[in-house]
Symmetry: C2
Subunit: 236 residues, 2 copies
């Protein structure tokens, strides 16, 4: 079914649609100013995010039951606060943990997605849990038709079950779905299952010295520098 | 948590948001004209829908594994075609089965939901499967934030797991969620679990001689005659 027409676009979100680094850094800097902490919000954001992949591994390996990303984020946040030698009460910690529900989109994301939505089904294919994705969509104005990804599959990307549960729920063959991401590894995992692929270059996701995903590392079906360029290429 | 502020509205869809009877009848009448069948589209629609509740019972009773509503509808459609003494080839049958993805909204649904979406999270809480709900939303312009209901829970309303899985995925207490339906039984099942409830009167869902759900049968938190009246009452 390699020549099937694309009916749906599914999106990685953290880094691809929203700029987590500057969004988290800004809230941490504001909190640090309020608390009189001497720390750098960007460094805090990077250290928090560095715990993201390791935190999912026990679930991916089947060594731990699925827990949603909000819960993994909270555990990582406690560790980062300790590393920086600062503390928060439970309500403050809960509020800061939900900063991942309040991430700002890249400037091209909402205009591009709004165009794409007129022609295609748009769904998330993120490791974020459903409430995280729904709240972020309300906050950032992201026009998803559906939230797919980790929670429906009770596992984490790049495990195949996550992508395949999404295709199954849309009742589409993977070849009818375009996986869109700023990360080559995510696209390769989807391509291995028969999905079509689109790369969006996000060269500052990890800051000015980003040393990965600075270019398309394979012949993805679409290679673009913005969501609007993707809309152009798809005639949306 | 009885006094929690409502954050999300979840909706029954068939009958509450869309008018399945006239939508299905119109497509069946058009098909009958094309095929030279002598049958009444409305009667066909009513007979098809009459198989809906019984078709879900084996799943609800745990006697059969979950199968999505598209599959139950297809089985029921085969039976109705036989009852009317007509037949379709597989492609035609598949197309007609998907008429449930092409249902037209009541006139107040899109304007009301569009207003409500600015203030609340809006999700389906339907027995329709995800692709049915997503395709219908694209067809009818229904602005859902999320599709919840039968498929995420792999069971059918009014089983508690369906409502509770939705609340869990939204990470809300049931008291923060307003279940909206034209059916008293659906609201009672949700209220029993702690959801708030809104009744929308749809006195012609089953046609001019409708003999059930012609009025609110309990003191639902909101009792209205349209989605726009609900938006008024909720200050949206």
């Amino acid at each position: 079914m390699a020549d099937q027409e694309v009916k749906a676009l599914v999106f990685d979100v953290f880094g691809t649609v929203v700029d987590w680094r500057t969004s988290v850094a800004a809230e941490v800097d504001a909190l640090a100013a309020e608390k009189g902490w001497s720390l750098d919000g960007t460094e805090f954001a990077m250290r928090w995010r560095a715990k993201y992949f390791p935190s999912m591994l026990p679930v991916r390996r089947g060594e731990a039951p699925y827990r949603r990303l909000d819960d993994l984020h909270r555990e990582s946040l406690r560790a980062v606060l300790t590393e920086f030698g600062v503390s928060l009460d439970e309500a403050e910690l809960e509020h800061l943990n939900k900063v991942w529900h309040r991430l700002h989109p890249w400037p091209d994301s909402v205009p591009g997605l709004t165009r794409l939505k007129k022609k295609f089904i748009l769904a998330t294919m993120s490791n974020g849990n459903v409430s995280l994705m729904v709240n972020m969509a309300k906050f950032a104005g992201l026009p998803w038709d559906m939230i797919l990804g980790a929670e429906p599959a009770r596992n984490y990307k790049p495990e195949p079950v996550v992508y395949l549960t999404g295709a199954d729920w849309l009742d589409l063959d993977p070849s009818q779905i375009l996986m869109t991401a700023a990360h080559n590894g995510d696209l390769q995992a989807a391509r291995d299952l028969g999905f079509k692929t689109a790369f969006i270059l996000r060269p500052t996701e990890y800051g000015p010295t980003q040393d990965k995903d600075n270019k398309a590392e394979s012949d993805w079906e679409y290679i673009t520098e913005s969501m609007e360029e993707l809309a152009d290429k798809l005639g949306a």
